[in-house]
Each structure stands twice: as structure tokens, then as C-alpha cells.
């Protein structure tokens, strides 16, 4: 099994002291904002996890994977953090049925390298391979796949809970605990193992169609019109464009390439999957590299380099799904103050919210380096899961852009008004009072959570900031 490369690429500011098996570390999310100190333990076995959860002090414990959630979900100021990347074994693989059981610290990178040559694919992959299975569950991640999120393909998981010990949960057993854990931000227990249903693939390639859309309405119309021909769909939006070109975009959609689409020579290497990082950014770069000028130049270039229309282009999985994985530590481009990713979903019918977002961004001269529009045709089964049927827009904005707090607070109001929600995994600045309006099943989740952890041993900075669990303050 290839060793987990992602650990090198951790979203961590590493300044700490070491003593027996634990390390005091300053941790932040991928956005590199609001770092806090915690005592980090790297468990080797289930027993280690049980011990740390049982012995959690008053400031509690939270699990962490590769640190790819953008905000403060996987950090626990003054408390304990279990870094599960040390539990990264593939325990069982049924090559006939396409079912695998893994430890929660296995990264999708490891999994894809192991599975694709055998003709299997983790059904849902996000925008980076450097996430763990445990993190995928805690966020109920979605990626470019419209028809389901990560936990829809999880049959069973092993969950270490403070009140009920080691549990086996799934959609058909202890379903409440299972779904509360799906998208539950790690606050229901520590996932140590998961059994996942895989999707068959014939190749390690994607047949992609790329087209340009002249504005945001055109883009949405094209997606609604023909997304059903594709398994994966994503639109990149130039949010520096204004006026008639507001929301001009590049739409990229694709399906796993079938063997019969390839020539004889290509077929021989069709399932080869060994991506390599092309470059790595130094951990500290000066502030201000991402500024309105550089963002405008990048967006202009990105739009112009995209073909007006290109059909049936064979791309590698990395090109299609994970272009940024080629640059290790790309988040440092935003400088020492880090960045905020803002992602929301609004239901179908609320298309005007997307347009309004772009108008407000351009009026505030707050250009997002990357703006991505996708659709969901399913809803997460978790009360705290993000996906609902509708449009989801994601923006990256450097911290320090003037008026950013007011701008995002204003967008939150528009999103709530439309019946939408922001994605907790990306969040680092939401007003806590909006939580219930965005997640109407919050109280049901809190009830399930409290039964698993009545003394509130599972805690994170996000929990403290948003009072997710209720009564944490």
C-alpha cells in the first residue's frame, strides 16, 4: 500500500512540543485561519481511540484527518485531537462485489491508487484526493457527482462513542446514530472503520465535454438541459465579469471512459493510476498575491484558454477531478492571513440568488479566485448533511478583503431567505443564530448526539463557535 502522501500536505501550522505519543500543536483548517492549540494523539488501534475518548478532559476531543475542512471543524482549542491518519489500513476488499472495509484514516488518494487498477472507484470523490474516509463521512462530501453524497455509499461504520462505547452503525442498524454521523462534523463519535460500496470503472480516464457559457443564465440553462447525459458536472464561473457577461462560465462535464472508447494501445494502460505531485508551494508566502488584479488576470486567462466547445476529450481522473492536487500546499498562495471558502446551496427555483451573489461580489470588487457552480439532485440523509436538491456555489476569498465580513453576512441572509444553507465543512465565519434556519433538523440531530455523548466529550472549535451541540458555551 503506498504510504499516505497527504500527510505531508497537512493544513497545519506546526509549532509544538513533543512528549510521549502526544504532541502539542497549533492547528488550523485548510483556510489557515484562526489557529488554536491542542494535544494531538495519533492512535494505532481501536483501543487507543477508545482510551482517548474515554479519558477526554473538560475540553473534550475531536477527530482529525488530513485537515482539508476549510474552517475550524477539526481543531479543538485546549483539548485533545485524534489524528486518524495513523489508522490507514485497507482491511477487506471484495473485488467481485466492489465493497471495501477500511480504517477511517485511509485517504481517498490511497484508496484510488489501490482500487482503480482493479476496476473500482470510490463512488463519491471531492475536489481533492487528500481527504480521509472519516473526514468524508463527517462532512458527507459530495464532489462533482449530483446523485448522492459520500454516506449514501457507506453500508456500515464503526463508531467510538462516549456513552455507548464502540458501536456498529449503518442505514439498517442504529440508523439514527448513522445519519447523525453523516455530515455530523465528528461530534457524534470517532469513526474508526467504514464499509463502502464502490462503483465499477473500466478505465482511469474521464471522457469530458467542455463548453463556454456566455452568462450565468446560459450556464444554468445548459446544465438543466443536458446534465443527465453526464455522471459528473461542474461549472467554473468568472466572477470578475460584469454587465451582460455576468457569470460567464466554462462548463465541464464527463463520464468514466469506457474501454471501447480507447485504441488498442491505450487499452493496455487504461487503468493505470499513479498521479504525482508536480510542484509544492512553500508554507509561507507574502500576503497580497491573490488580489483583484491577479484574480482578474487569472479569470480572463482561464476563460479564454477554455475551448468554446470541445467534445469527447479523454482526460485523466486527476485532470478532471483534482487539478489542484498537482500543487502541494496550494493554500499558502493566499498568504499568512489565509482565506475563506464560502459555499452554499439554494433550492431549485432560487436561481436568482446565484445571480445576486455574483452581482454583490462584483459590486464589492471582491473577486473570488475560483467560483464553482454545481447541482444536487439528491439530499443528504443526515440532519446536518449539506446537500439538498438545488444549486451550490463555492467561492474562495482571501481574508483581508475589505468589507468581506459584511458581504458574506449579507449573502447568508439571502441564502436563508431562499431556504438554503452554507456548508459547515467550508465554514469559518457564520453567525450562530442562522444555524437553525439553515439546518431545520438541528434539534433532531442534537437529540441523537446527546444520547451518544451526554457529557459533551466530543468538541471542536466549530462546535464552540456555532454552538452546534447546543449549550456548549
Amino acid at each position: 500500500m503506498p504510504k499516505n502522501e497527504g500527510t505531508k500536505n497537512e493544513g497545519t501550522k506546526n509549532e509544538g512540543t513533543r512528549n510521549e505519543g502526544t504532541e502539542s500543536e497549533l492547528l488550523s483548517g485548510w483556510g489557515r485561519t484562526a489557529p488554536t492549540r491542542a494535544t494531538v494523539t495519533e492512535p494505532e488501534r481501536l483501543d487507543d481511540v477508545v482510551r482517548v475518548v474515554t479519558d477526554a478532559g473538560p475540553r473534550g476531543v475531536i477527530a482529525r484527518g488530513l485537515g482539508r475542512s476549510y474552517g475550524d471543524a477539526a481543531q479543538n482549542a485546549g483539548g485533545a485531537v485524534l489524528r486518524l491518519t495513523s489508522m490507514d489500513r485497507v482491511l477487506h476488499l471484495d473485488v467481485e462485489k466492489g465493497v471495501c472495509t477500511v480504517e477511517a484514516g485511509v485517504s481517498l488518494d490511497t484508496l484510488m491508487r489501490a482500487l482503480i487498477p482493479l476496476g473500482w472507484f470510490p463512488t463519491v470523490v471531492p475536489g481533492t484526493r487528500y481527504v480521509t474516509v472519516g473526514g468524508g463521512i463527517a462532512s458527507d462530501i459530495h464532489g462533482k457527482f449530483r446523485l448522492g453524497s459520500f454516506c449514501d455509499y457507506v453500508d456500515r461504520m464503526q463508531l467510538v462513542t462516549p456513552a455507548r462505547g464502540v458501536m456498529t452503525v449503518g442505514p439498517d442498524q442504529e440508523a439514527d446514530a448513522f445519519w447523525a454521523t453523516a455530515g455530523g462534523m465528528g461530534l457524534t463519535g470517532v469513526v474508526t472503520e467504514a464499509t463502502m460500496r464502490l462503483s465499477p470503472v473500466e478505465t482511469a480516464l474521464v471522457t469530458a465535454d467542455t463548453e463556454r457559457a456566455r452568462d450565468v443564465d446560459d450556464c444554468m440553462a445548459r446544465m438543466l438541459d443536458s446534465d443527465d447525459r453526464y455522471r459528473y458536472s461542474v461549472a467554473w464561473i468568472d466572477c470578475t465579469a460584469t454587465g451582460a457577461a455576468l457569470g460567464r462560465s466554462v462548463l465541464t462535464r464527463g463520464n468514466h471512459t469506457r474501454l471501447d472508447e480507447l485504441g488498442a494501445k491505450q487499452k493496455l494502460r487504461a487503468r493505470e493510476f499513479a498521479p504525482r505531485a508536480l510542484a509544492a508551494l512553500p508554507p509561507s508566502l507574502p500576503p497580497g498575491l491573490i488580489n483583484p488584479l491577479s484574480v482578474r488576470a487569472f479569470n480572463e486567462m482561464w476563460f479564454r484558454k477554455a475551448p468554446r466547445e470541445k467534445r469527447d476529450e479523454i482526460q485523466t481522473l486527476t485532470q478532471f477531478f483534482h487539478p489542484l492536487d498537482g500543487v502541494l500546499g496550494w493554500n499558502s498562495i493566499y498568504g499568512p492571513r489565509g482565506f475563506v471558502q464560502y459555499q452554499y446551496v439554494v433550492p431549485y427555483g432560487a436561481e436568482a440568488v446565484v445571480r445576486e451573489t455574483l452581482e454583490r461580489l462584483s459590486a464589492a470588487r471582491c473577486a473570488s479566485f475560483l467560483a464553482v457552480l454545481k447541482r444536487f439532485e439528491h439530499a443528504s440523509g443526515g440532519p446536518l448533511g449539506f446537500p439538498i436538491h438545488g444549486w451550490t456555489l463555492a467561492l474562495d476569498v482571501p481574508v483581508g478583503s475589505s468589507g468581506l465580513d459584511g458581504l458574506l453576512d449579507g449573502l447568508d441572509d439571502v441564502v436563508v431567505e431562499a431556504g438554503g444553507r452554507v456548508y459547515l465543512t467550508k465554514d469559518s465565519r457564520l453567525r450562530p443564530e442562522l444555524l437553525r434556519a439553515m439546518y431545520p433538523e438541528l434539534d433532531r440531530w442534537r437529540e441523537t448526539r446527546a444520547a451518544l455523548d451526554p457529557n459533551h466529550a466530543l468538541r471542536s472549535d466549530m462546535d464552540r463557535r456555532l454552538d452546534l451541540s447546543g449549550g456548549t458555551q
Binding site: L26, T33, R37, G71, R337, V340, G400, S428, R429
Partner: protein, 253 residues
């Protein structure tokens, strides 16, 4: 918890009657409601300020008793604040006295009062505060210093030296806390129009408490370590600091 954009959810003000501190709290709560704890020798005088902050958007305001020169009480005081209110995201150390230079020169007791409030008191309460902040693994600790701490002047060296002591303590403290999740910021305003300076002739580049508050909130957002108010004073004070004493002592400042 402080969020990604520097907004804090709970504030402890040591020296709750400080106009600069109250203006800072005002600025903080008007964007996002935060819980504010005001600590002062006579908490009952804070009723109006507390009502003001509630009206401005604070989710809760509490006034507690704190005596900067009752050193023996500080450990217990800090413990009681944390026990009662939980994590504190921002501690603003804002108490201090200006004293009367002429009186202090003639009366050691008067000089000691200035030093014990502005320096010893700051050290005494900072030590237990820092222990709590380190234990919670996050938080900002802000000292209201002054440009007068940069170089003692003949016209107010008692005050200047007491503030210089606290300022130096915080510089070292800030460096020692790197990597702990605790952020230390020193604020050095010039002449600020407050009741402390009422009746005095305003120095050049004087500012109002609101201007200082604005600079503090900006500094918190950007994670600054030293904030000069106004910003230009950094250059001015750099000039004064390096001025030969022969010249400096002749200045009418």
C-alpha cells in the same frame, strides 16, 4: 471562538470604565453580538455603559469587581471570571492612571500608586490571565499602552516609565506565546481625548477613543502585534527614540 475574519464572541475588559475599551466593545458588538464582561473597582458605576453596550447589540453584559492594586485578589478574580463565563476570546487590559507628575516627584506614595497600577497591577493580573488563555488554547490579549512608553520624557516620566514596563513585559510575553494559540497585541495610542486627559492641552495628532477602537478591531482582524494610533506616530516615535538626549531633553514635550 474568534472566527476566520477576526470577530470575537466574548470579551473581558480589565478597567471597564476606560473610554477606549468601551468604544472598542461598542465597535465589536455592533457587528456581531458578543458577550462582554466589564471589570472595574466599582462595578456599580458601569450600569450606563452596560446598558449602552446591550443597546448596541451585545448578547450579554456583566459588570464584576476588580481592583488593579489588590494583587492578592487577582488569581481568585481570574478564576472566578473563567468559571462563571467560560472561554474568553479577547482580554483587553485597559486600566491605568495618569497621575500628577509634579506630585509624584515630591511624594513617593503618589509615584508608587502610578507604578503599582500601570505596571505591577498589569503584571499581577496578566500572569493568571495568560495561564487561562494557554489552557483554553486560543484568545487575544491586548494591552492599552501609549506612545509615552517608547521614551520617557521629563514632563511625565513616572507615567511613561510605568507604561514602558508593562509594554516591555507584553513584548516579551507576545514572543513567548507564539505557537500557543494566544495572540498578544500592544496598542500605542498618542494623545487621546478622554476624561483622563480632560483639561490638558492636546498634543499633535490627537485622536478620539473611537479612532483607537477602530484601530484595535482592525488589529485583531489582521493579527497585528503592535498597533500605533494614528499609524504615523510609529515614524514620529522612531525619530524621537533615536534623537540624542542633548536634543531630546530640550524639547518642550
Amino acid at each position: 471562538m474568534k472566527d476566520a475574519l477576526g470577530a470575537v464572541q466574548s470579551v473581558l475588559v480589565l478597567g471597564g470604565t476606560s473610554e477606549i475599551a468601551l468604544a472598542t466593545c461598542h465597535e465589536i458588538v455592533k457587528q456581531r453580538g458578543a458577550r462582554v464582561v466589564l471589570a472595574a473597582r466599582k462595578p456599580e458605576v458601569l450600569d450606563a455603559a452596560a446598558a449602552d453596550l446591550r443597546a448596541a447589540g451585545a448578547s450579554a453584559v456583566d459588570a464584576v469587581a476588580f481592583d488593579a492594586t489588590d494583587f492578592a485578589s487577582h488569581e481568585q478574580f481570574v478564576a472566578s471570571v473563567w468559571d462563571r463565563f467560560g472561554d474568553i476570546d479577547l482580554v483587553l487590559v485597559a486600566f491605568g492612571v495618569l497621575g500628577d507628575q509634579a506630585v509624584s516627584e515630591a511624594d513617593a506614595a503618589a509615584a508608587l500608586e502610578v507604578v503599582q497600577t500601570n505596571f505591577t497591577g498589569v503584571v499581577s493580573v496578566t500572569v493568571p490571565v495568560v495561564a487561562r488563555l494557554k489552557a483554553q488554547g486560543h484568545g487575544s490579549l491586548v494591552l492599552l499602552s501609549t506612545v509615552a512608553a517608547e521614551r520617557a520624557r521629563k514632563s511625565n516620566y513616572v507615567y511613561g516609565s510605568s507604561k514602558a514596563g508593562a509594554d516591555a513585559f507584553y513584548q516579551g510575553l507576545g514572543d513567548s506565546l507564539v505557537g500557543t494559540g494566544v495572540h498578544v497585541m500592544i496598542v500605542r495610542p498618542g494623545f487621546v481625548h478622554t476624561k483622563m486627559t480632560a483639561g490638558m492641552e492636546a498634543a499633535p495628532m490627537s485622536v478620539t477613543p473611537d479612532v483607537v477602537a477602530d484601530a484595535i478591531v482592525k488589529g485583531l482582524k489582521s493579527g497585528s502585534e503592535i498597533v500605533w494610533v494614528p499609524m504615523q506616530l510609529r515614524a514620529v516615535m522612531s525619530g524621537l527614540r533615536h534623537m540624542p538626549r542633548m536634543v531630546f531633553r530640550r524639547l518642550k514635550i
